[in-house]
Structures are given as structure tokens and as C-alpha cells.
């Protein structure tokens, strides 16, 4: 079959940014998968609650302090995160480096608070179904904080390496920032479910 050239793409950029990047859409797709998982965990929580005669089962509602502090911290972390995304768009290497260090620290801090959240539930995973679901919900979300933290740390190292100053890396930083937004936003319904639904 003979080829007839009808289109010249020589002038297009060598790498797509934002919605022209595959990783952007890939990240969205993975967020959809994980978001479905989060949503289902909430559904399981509410389902078990609907079957129980009293809720929480055999214990008091969780203490608010650790979880609420963590929630506030996560919300606050959105501010530097948004700046980081903007600096990445502007391909400002030094600001991106600083932003990534800040976000790495802001990834560790919630883990410290999370360590206080598990005991604040007043129940263990193997005591009853309520304990099982709250531990799994906390665990599921913690996994996401950890994976994002590792990713942020690796990106920070990358940005200080010779590979750093590249549009591809800035794109990775943007996607990473987008993913952190997702980790924070999905926490809000989980926080409401874990801490406030038992108080209804």
C-alpha cells in the first residue's frame, strides 16, 4: 500500500504536557481504580453498620484529636502542593526542589499522626467486624500516603540529579502533586465516616 503524506507533525513538541501526556491520563485511571476501592470500603462500613444493633460495636466512638489534626494537616498540605504544581508547570527547578522537600516532610508528618489514630479507635482489628473495617480503612489510606511519600522522595532525589531539569520530570512532579490531592481529598469522606458517623 502506497503512503501519501497528508500531514506534517515535525513541529509538534517532543513530549506532551498536562492533558497531552499519557501519564496524566494513566494517573487519572489509577485514581479511578483506587477511588472505587475507597468508596467500596465506605460502603462496607455503612453496610456493617446497618446490620449492627449498636454502633460502634462494643466500644466508644474514636477519639477525635489525632484524626482531626491529621485531617487539618492534610488540608494545609494542599497549599504547598498547589504551589509545587504551579512551579512544575513553570519548570522552575529550584522552587520545585524546595517544594518537593516540603512535600516529603508533609508526607512523613501524617504517618506520625496516623500512628496515634489506630489506638484512638479503641478497638483492634480482630475484636469484631467494626474493628476490622476501621483498621482496613485506615490501613488502605495509610498505604496511599506511604506510596506517595516514596514517590515524592524518589522524585526529590531525581530533581537533585542530572536528570532533573527536563520537561518530563516536571510532568512527573505535576502528576505526583495531582495524586497527593487525590490522597487528601479521598481522606475527607473517610474521616467523616470513621469519626463522625459513629457519633450520629
Amino acid at each position: 500500500m502506497n503512503h501519501t503524506v497528508v500531514l506534517d507533525v515535525a513541529d509538534l513538541p517532543e513530549h506532551g504536557l498536562g492533558s497531552a501526556s499519557q501519564t496524566y491520563w494513566g494517573t487519572l485511571a489509577f485514581m479511578l481504580i483506587e477511588g472505587t476501592g475507597f468508596a467500596l470500603s465506605i460502603v462496607v462500613y455503612l453496610y456493617l453498620m446497618s446490620l449492627a444493633t449498636q454502633w460502634p460495636l462494643g466500644t466508644a466512638p474514636p477519639d477525635l484529636l489525632a484524626g482531626t489534626t491529621l485531617t487539618a494537616l492534610l488540608i494545609v498540605s494542599l497549599v504547598p502542593n498547589l504551589f509545587l504544581a504551579r512551579w512544575a508547570r513553570h519548570q522552575d527547578l529550584w522552587k520545585v526542589r524546595i517544594g518537593l522537600i516540603v512535600m516529603t516532610v508533609l508526607g512523613v508528618a501524617p504517618l506520625v499522626l496516623r500512628a496515634f489514630e489506630f489506638p484512638a479507635m479503641h478497638i483492634k482489628w480482630d475484636q469484631n467486624a467494626y474493628g476490622s473495617i476501621v483498621w482496613v480503612m485506615l490501613g488502605l489510606h495509610t498505604t496511599h500516603i506511604i506510596t506517595n511519600l516514596v514517590e515524592t522522595a524518589v522524585l526529590t532525589a531525581l530533581m537533585f540529579s542530572r536528570h532533573g531539569d527536563s520537561p518530563r520530570r516536571y510532568g512527573d512532579v505535576s502528576d505526583n502533586a495531582m495524586y497527593w490531592n487525590f490522597v487528601v481529598i479521598t481522606w475527607l469522606p473517610m474521616y467523616a465516616c470513621l469519626y463522625w458517623v459513629p457519633r450520629l
Binding site: 500500500m1 502506497n2 503512503h3 501519501t4 503524506v5 497528508v6 500531514l7 506534517d8 507533525v9 515535525a10 513541529d11 509538534l12 513538541p13 517532543e14 513530549h15 506532551g16 504536557l17 492533558s19 497531552a20 501526556s21 499519557q22 491520563w25 494513566g26 485511571a29 489509577f30 479511578l32 481504580i33 483506587e34 472505587t36 476501592g37 467500596l40 470500603s41 462496607v44 453496610y47 456493617l48 446490620l51 449492627a52 460495636l57 482489628w125 480482630d126 475484636q127 469484631n128 467486624a129 467494626y130 474493628g131 476490622s132 473495617i133 483498621w135 482496613v136 516514596v150 524518589v154 531525581l158 536528570h163 527536563s166 520537561p167 518530563r168 520530570r169
Partner: protein, 636 residues
């Protein structure tokens, strides 16, 4: 981003031979073991996936023959209850998770990039990773079976039978962890397909010019993305109940047995459409080619696909009509289950209209489509029957349902799949399959299938339940069971002939031209089999049937780099070119990542600490995978 970077070579000023040489150097997989282990070529991985899935099909088929041997006579003692329970569990699990879903995705891995006119699938390393995960999951299941620790709790693994109290040993854990393997791989492929279809379509291939098979795979991929998390959550909860003593499914501690069924079927029903919708796309493709006209009602077909996808999530309770849920709620699910007959009917009628208006050519792929129409419509009718609550209370968990879903899955998916193999085999291998053997295969399979499975409807109504390893001689079922077992031999011969034909043709079939069927979609615009880079120039599209406009000339784009793996990114709706993007080169890291993940997952059957320690090699492998290597593909 200047136009003429140092060392930047373009495809513009080269003659065809030189261009092909450069593209081959950039894109081809090196020979040898290392090349085979590190390749990211969607065609090589796709072929591997398809072959592996067909091996699992053959193994699953052998299991079904063993079951038929046992059931041919009452109180037979060829197979004891323990082994029989493993066998039927393996048959279902294998066919659903290791054959049906992967084979459909495998076809898409091979075909979608070609059909949308690009050079590789999106995230090709993830694709390689997904294959290794799938293979590891399959090996886990079959090695366990060979060692007599195969799961024996049914492919649905209902609690509490699969829970800590009633399923001692590791059999149920192996089932649950095999789920993790196959779901990880299925989800990865779904993401790849979505991004490939969204962002890598040929310039000009707007949404209304996407081939129907690609549409069907897009909808299927979204179904996978939304349905599979449910089974991941369920199987994880099951493993936790078994390993660390959680109580999700323990009614004594506030858990619930039916929670498992809700989660399982919220995945399990869409699963049926995850298998069926790709087949719909294959049927549409074959019908268009062998009636010499486009499928009637393109828009209606696309809408039917989407509607089926949405409705698929509103049906799960019809698997639980006898579990004791409120009757009013069940009536809603009767209505929604029946409603899915409407988009299914629309598609059937559109194909009939296409055949009516076209010029049918009765080649083997088309014969399989005709067989599909005959068999699948019966499956659809029995589907309407089991959607009715009172009807279902008599046939649920009986051989009637066994007949029903084999009519749907074998008739609705395997027949189109085999037609699709006959259809695309020349593209996959560069050789034609035998038309004579193909007709015999079809004849044997069509006859064998109906003789095997139709009588099961009657057995079900006569009171024969599913999943029994034997039955008592005073029951009036012996005659039909013997008849079914003998008929199964005919069906098995059909499959055997298919395998013989495929293996023989792959070695010594007659050479296939680029477009043996005179088809009109882009995968036929390149040689059979396609070169590593798929297309010498990336095609540009201006209609739904790009090859119909001028059979001798392919409009293409130029200006891409040939010294790195490069393809075009286009906009989601109109497919306007946005960027020249690189496509990752071969890498061994996906294999290491899959190996580390596999070890972690299998280890975690035995101790929860495996997740902690295993995450370290997994993290190392992933960092190695993504860390820049300073290659041209990282230019930006």
C-alpha cells in the same frame, strides 16, 4: 524543542527501504533470551498472552472432560469428592480468570494499537509487567492443583465455606491470592487500553470513527476499572479473616456472610460483560468484513455497548435471589436484569440488518458468527428466564444455570473469539489457517456444544443441582448425563481440531497477504505480521473505514523522529495531533518488579509480615524501572 536538534533524525527525507531499516533498528526486539524477557512490543506480548490463555483453555477443557467422566454414571468413583471439588473450582476459576478475561484483553493488546494506528500500546512496560503477573498467577493456581492443594471452594468462594473455620489449609488462600495476581494484571491492561484509545489514535480518528472493536474494548476497560476493585476488597478481606483474624464475614462478631456475595457479584456480574463486550466487538468486525458493508447503526451499537456497561452494575443481586433478601428489592433487580435484553437485542437486530443489506461470504470466521447468533440468543433467552425471581428459585444452582451461562459464555464469547482467531490469525502470524479444517472445527464445535449443553436445561428442571460430585442411581438423570458426556467428546474433538489447525498453520500455513479478507480497518494497512514499528508512517484517518476510501493509497503523517521510539499523541475527542511522544524501550525491570511482587504475594499467604518485607524489593524494582537511564526516549 527546536525543530532540528543535534542528531535528531526524521522520517521525511528517506526512501522506504532506508526508513524501514532505521525504524527496525529503533523498534525491534533483540533476538535471544534477554530480548524475549525484556521486550515491550505489544505484538509479542499480545501473542504471548493469547497463547498462554489458550493453554489455560485447553487445561480447563481437560478438567471439564474429567468432570464429565465422573458424572456419566451415577455413584461413579473415578474421582472422589475432594478432588472433584478442586476440579470444578479450578475449571471455573481457570476459565474466568486465566482464560476468558485475559484472552479478550490479549486480543486488545495486540489489535487496539494497530486498529487506532499507533506504534505501541500506552505504558508498554506496564504491559510487560501485567503479562508476568498473569503468568505467575496462573502458575500459582496450577502448581497448587498439581500438589493437591488446589482451591476447592468454588470459583465464587462463598464464605463461610472458604473462611477460616471451614476451609483449613491454604487452598482458599491460593484462590484469593490468584485473584490478586489476575486483577493486578487485568487492571494494568485496562489502564493501558484506555490511555491508548484516548491519546494515541491516528490523527483524524475522532470518536465517531473509532472501530467498534476498539469501542468495545474501551467500555470493557472501564468495566474492569470499576468492577475489579470490589473483588480485590473482597478477596483481601477474606485473606485477612483467614490470616490475621478479622471478622468481616463472621456473623458472631458483627460480620456478615452475604457481604461477601454482594461484593463478589458486584464484580462478578460485570465480569460477564467484561468477557462478552469484547466478543461483541469481534462480531461487529467480522460481520462488517464478511457482509461487505459497514455495520448497520454505528451510533446505536456504541450506545448499546455503553448502556450494557452501565446496566451491568445494576444486576448483581440476581445472583442472590434465594439468599433471603427483601422481595421488593429483588423485583427491582428482575426489572434491571430483563432491561439488559434491550441493548443486547438492539445489537442482534443491527447485525441482522447488516447481513440483510450486505453480501454475506461464508468463510470460517463468519460461520463462527452465525453459530454465535444461534447459541447466544438461546443464552439470552434463558438469561431473561433466570432474571425472573420465581423462575430463578427453581433453577438457581442447578444444571439449568450451567447450561445458561455456557450458552452465554461459550456461545457469546468463545465462538466469536474463535472466529476472531481465524480472522486475525493471518495478521498475527503471516499465515492463513485452513479453511477446510476451519469448517470441520466449526461443525464439530457447533454440534458438540449444543448436544452437550442443551440437555442440561432439562436436567436442571428435573432437579439436578450443580457442583455435586455424583448422584444417586434412583434419580432420573443417568441417561441424559451419559448422553452429555458422550457429546462432550464431539465438542472436545472440535477444540482439538482447532488447536491442530492453529499449530499446523502457524508453522506451515500458506503465506498471508497484508489484507487477505479485503477488510477496511487500519490493522490491515500494514504487512502480515506487522513490523516492530507497526506502520512505516503513522496513518491519518478521515472516515470510519479508512481503507475504503482508496484501497491503494494510505494517507499518512510525516515528521516523526526515527532515532527514538516515537509516536503521536492526539486529543481525546477529535484526535488532533498534540505532541510527538516517545515510547519506552525494552527493559528487564518489569520482570524483576513482577518477580518481587509475586514473591511478596505468595509469601503473604503465610504471614502478614511478608507485605512489610516484600515491599522493599518491590520498591527497589519500581525505582529501577522508572529511574531515567539517559536514553533518547527521555528527550523532551
Amino acid at each position: 524543542m527546536t525543530r532540528h536538534k543535534e542528531g535528531d533524525r526524521r522520517d521525511t527525507a528517506l526512501n522506504d527501504a532506508e526508513l524501514q531499516r532505521c525504524l527496525t533498528a529503533t523498534w525491534s526486539t533483540p533476538a535471544g533470551l534477554w530480548g524475549a524477557l525484556s521486550t515491550v512490543d505489544h505484538k509479542i506480548i499480545g501473542r504471548r498472552y493469547i497463547t498462554t490463555a489458550f493453554v489455560f483453555l485447553a487445561l480447563g477443557g481437560v478438567l471439564s472432560l474429567l468432570m464429565r467422566l465422573q458424572l456419566a454414571q451415577p455413584e461413579a468413583r473415578f474421582i472422589g469428592p475432594d478432588r472433584y471439588n478442586q476440579i470444578f473450582t479450578m475449571h471455573g476459576t481457570n476459565m474466568m480468570f486465566l482464560f476468558a478475561v485475559p484472552v479478550m484483553q490479549a486480543m486488545a493488546i495486540y489489535l487496539v494499537p494497530l486498529m487506532v494506528g499507533t506504534r505501541n500500546i500506552a505504558f508498554p512496560r506496564l504491559n510487560a509487567f501485567s503479562y508476568w503477573m498473569y503468568l505467575a498467577g496462573g502458575l500459582l493456581l496450577w502448581v497448587a492443583f498439581a500438589l493437591d492443594v488446589g482451591p476447592d471452594v468454588g470459583w465464587f468462594a462463598y464464605v463461610p465455606l472458604s473462611g477460616p473455620q471451614y476451609a483449613a489449609g491454604k487452598r482458599a488462600d491460593i484462590w484469593a491470592q490468584m485473584i490478586t495476581f489476575t486483577e493486578v494484571s487485568a487492571l494494568a491492561v485496562a489502564v493501558e487500553i484506555v490511555v491508548t484509545v484516548f491519546k494515541q489514535r491516528a490523527p483524524g480518528m475522532s470518536l465517531d470513527r473509532i472501530p467498534l472493536f476498539v469501542w468495545s474494548m474501551l467500555v470493557t476497560s472501564f468495566l474492569i476499572i470499576l468492577a475489579m476493585p470490589a473483588i480485590m476488597i473482597a478477596s483481601t478481606a477474606l485473606i485477612l479473616d483467614r490470616l490475621v483474624g478479622t471478622h468481616f464475614f463472621n456473623p458472631a462478631e458483627g460480620g456478615d456472610v452475604l457481604l461477601w456475595q454482594h461484593l463478589f457479584w458486584f464484580f462478578g456480574h460485570p465480569e460477564v460483560y467484561i468477557i462478552f463486550l469484547p466478543a461483541v466487538g469481534m462480531v461487529s468486525t467480522i460481520v462488517a468484513t464478511f457482509t461487505r458493508r459497514p455495520v448497520f447503526g454505528y451510533l446505536g451499537m456504541v450506545m448499546a455497548l455503553i448502556a450494557t456497561g452501565i446496566l451491568a452494575f445494576g444486576l448483581w443481586v440476581h445472583h442472590m435471589f434465594v439468599a433471603g433478601l427483601p422481595r421488593l428489592g429483588e423485583s427491582f433487580f428482575t426489572a434491571s436484569s430483563m432491561a439488559i435484553a434491550v441493548p443486547a437485542g438492539l445489537q442482534i437486530f443491527c447485525w441482522l440488518a447488516t447481513m440483510w443489506a450486505g453480501r454475506p461470504i461464508f468463510k470460517t470466521p463468519f460461520l463462527f458468527v452465525i453459530g454465535f447468533m444461534v447459541i447466544f440468543v438461546i443464552g439470552g433467552m434463558t438469561g431473561v428466564m433466570v432474571a425472573s425471581v420465581p423462575f430463578d428459585t427453581q433453577v438457581h444452582d442447578t444444571y439449568f444455570v450451567v447450561a445458561h451461562f455456557h450458552y452465554v459464555l461459550v456461545g457469546g464469547a468463545v465462538f466469536p473469539l474463535l472466529g476472531a482467531i481465524y480472522y486475525w490469525f493471518p495478521k498475527f502470524t503471516g499465515r492463513m489457517m485452513s479453511e477446510t479444517l476451519g469448517r470441520w472445527t466449526f461443525g464439530l464445535m457447533f454440534t458438540g456444544f449444543n448436544l452437550t449443553f442443551f440437555p442440561m436445561h432439562i436436567l436442571g428442571l428435573q432437579g439436578m443441582p450443580r457442583r455435586i460430585y455424583t448422584y444417586q442411581p434412583e434419580m432420573p438423570w443417568s441417561g441424559l448425563n451419559m448422553f452429555i458426556s458422550l457429546s462432550a467428546i464431539i465438542l472436545a474433538l472440535g477444540f482439538l481440531m482447532f488447536f491442530v489447525d492453529a499449530i499446523r498453520s502457524a508453522r506451515s500455513g500458506s503465506a498471508a497477504p497484508a489484507n487477505p479478507w479485503g477488510a477496511l480497518t487500519l490493522e490491515w494497512a500494514t504487512s502480515s505480521p506487522p513490523p516492530a514499528y507497526n506502520f512505516m508512517h503513522l496513518p491519518v484517518v478521515s472516515s470510519l473505514e479508512p481503507l475504503a476510501d482508496d484501497p491503494d493509497i494510505l494517507p499518512v503523517a510525516s515528521g516523526l523522529r526515527i532515532d527514538r521510539r516515537e509516536l503521536l499523541i492526539t486529543s481525546v475527542v477529535q484526535a488532533v495531533p498534540e505532541a510527538r511522544e516517545s515510547s519506552p524501550g525494552d527493559s528487564i525491570w518489569p520482570l524483576w518488579a513482577a518477580a518481587a511482587t509475586s514473591v511478596t504475594l505468595i509469601w503473604s499467604i503465610f504471614t502478614p509480615w511478608a507485605v512489610v518485607w516484600g515491599s522493599i524489593p518491590v520498591a527497589i524494582a519500581l525505582i529501577g524501572w522508572f529511574w531515567p537511564k539517559g536514553v533518547v526516549e527521555e528527550d523532551a
